[in-house]
Symmetry: C2
Subunit: 369 residues, 2 copies
């Protein structure tokens, strides 16, 4: 792999220091320019967590013109929804909420869960029910949603087979570096996922937006390239995408990884344990309380601040107050952690209660496909 730190690796644990560079390097557009055209922008948008896009204008136009569009995402059903999955899920649900004509597509990548993590399909089927119940509890509207299992959706597999004839090893190497055949194939299958909503069975060509973490951009670029190559055949519009910053683990390093459960919050965590995890999290605090009172903390470095700002506090003024109190030295880490722990704990209790009521529906949605 290229050692340039800005090389995006969709399969790695990326740390991106300077998101602005992506504008220049990969042609991602700043979201700021179009965000005023988005009705009731989501907190990710208002706060710059979602910072970039490609061709989102197509979707904005579909919203204002009341014409059909789709929003696409998915998950590898290997375990409980963590905060990274929650971010993408909320963005999916946000775009779906923008219009009666918005269809959400959601892929349960059970084959990948088997191939990568050795999870048998019967087990990932149970996990998928739990994941879908999370989505419903977060606000997914089932009547405007098509959920499918990767192992059962021939349309996606057929698209990826067809696409395989128009990629070259050079294209794949240029985008991903030298990788194993299996990862290349996964990328083609994802292109199939993203372009399926534009096929005849789903009403033909339309704008489709894929909300992703910044590290997933290589998949978007490959998919747009394939859409272009198969445009005369299928009439594909190039898919749109939005990009959000990566959520760090509670220890502050890398992106969320399922490998280290104590540094990772999931929506199914026991609220008491979640509080404990937060009490151990990395902050932007100074070496001593005295110093912090004097020169203030560094919320930009603080995972606890990020928890509220990215994930759990809806009220912009409240987030601003936390920030101001921190940098002015008025707010001390111990209190701040306790405050966030309580917010997160309440959120989880509420979410888990709601989620329970959606399990049956999730089950029937996944068996009816």
């Amino acid at each position: 792999m290229n050692k340039d730190p800005i090389q995006l690796d969709p399969w790695g644990t990326a740390q991106i220091d300077d998101y602005e560079k992506l504008f220049e390097l990969f042609g991602i557009q700043p979201l700021k320019v179009v965000m005023n055209d988005i009705p009731h922008p989501h907190r990710h948008i208002r706060r710059g967590v979602m910072f970039g896009h490609r061709d989102l204008e197509l979707v904005i136009k579909a919203v204002s013109g009341n014409t059909p569009f789709a929003v696409m995402s998915g998950i590898k059903p290997t375990g409980e929804f963590h905060l990274g999955s929650k971010m993408t899920a909320e963005e999916l649900i946000f775009f779906q909420s923008l219009s009666e004509k918005a269809a959400a597509f959601y892929c349960m990548a059970d084959l990948e869960a088997y191939a990568d993590n050795g999870i048998p399909l019967e087990e990932s089927a149970r996990i998928a029910v739990s994941n879908l119940a999370d989505l419903l509890a977060l606000g997914l509207e089932p009547k405007k949603t098509y959920v499918y299992k990767q192992s059962e959706e021939t349309r996606v597999m057929n698209l990826s087979f067809i696409f395989s004839r128009s990629v070259t090893q050079n294209m794949l190497r240029a985008i991903y570096g030298e990788r194993n055949f299996g990862l290349y194939l996964s990328a083609l299958v994802q292109a199939g996922d993203i372009l399926m909503p534009q096929t005849k069975d789903f009403g033909g060509p339309k704008p489709v937006v894929v909300p992703v973490g910044a590290d997933q951009d290589p998949h978007i670029r490959l998919c747009r390239d394939l859409a272009r190559r198969h445009q005369t055949e299928y009439g594909f519009l190039l898919p749109s995408a939005t990009y959000h910053k990566l959520t760090r683990s509670l220890s502050g390093s890398l992106k969320m990884s399922k490998r280290d459960p104590m540094s990772l919050l999931t929506l199914n965590d026991d609220p008491a344990i979640a509080e404990k995890k937060i009490s151990n999290a990395l902050t932007g605090g100074r070496e001593t309380v005295e110093l912090q009172r004097k020169i203030g903390g560094e919320p930009e470095k603080c995972v606890v601040y990020e928890l509220g700002m990215f994930h759990f506090i809806e009220d912009d003024a409240y987030v601003q107050r936390i920030y101001d109190e921190c940098v002015s030295g008025k707010r001390i880490c111990g209190d701040c952690k306790a405050e966030h722990a309580s917010i997160v704990s309440d959120y989880l209790k509420n979410h888990q209660r709601r989620k329970k009521s959606f399990i049956d529906q999730a089950h029937s949605l996944l068996s009816n496909q």
Copy 2:
């Protein structure tokens, strides 16, 4: 590609001069050693047209022990059955006929027909019905057969996805040379086709024989390698294979190609046109009749002789007589062509009449899957 003439190219137009070399180079076993254990051997076996195998002992044992085994083949439904397709089909049917416990699997590779030849799925679906009617007319027993379309068989696609994680670019390059991603994927999908009969849905591990032309051996080697890599997971037996010599075009060059219809016999040819094609075919005749009377012809070089020997004459003594008469100078090409043209014409008339009566059944077999 390697320029060594013995490099096997499953996607090319191969000419293999010395089949014996394949024993040494690739570990294909001579069929002679086991042929006496095969009950009522097919004319391809008796005449050395089928000349090699891998692990056919497993199948022979299943026949004598009356235990389940499978035989697998398929076609890319792009046009009418030509003599190459007929060879493989007859071998499939022969192995199926060996036991009540023999199941035949047949793949209609409609996605390949689309990706390679631009034939839409609706059109290849019609062609597949015609191809299947040919198979039934040739003797395929529908009750012991599973026919499927590549675009609809998730089990095969899922296997190939799983296999994709255990191949490396180096493995693929070593077997096929540097190829496009799409051809590599096709090879994995074929491995899925060959190994599906051993999955749980079809009763689990069992011997499976794949009768192929000698140029297809790379696919067999890849598939056996994948079976080995996934043995603990699925309990796969390494698939068996048999190898036949390639049918030349009527002009004597290369293997049968659908690109030159006048040099290619199909089972749907108008018998009168087939006779005409044969009258133009390459023979092993001498420059003049006088010379031929004196030193005899060369049946080894003669496509007309091959037509009878490979494809259309069941009676060994009759084939022997033709051979003897040719080499002794007793038989002259003009008469011999007329004799073969009449045999082929009768065969086609009879086949086409039988085929008609199987169209409805073929249609319903392909829509019921």
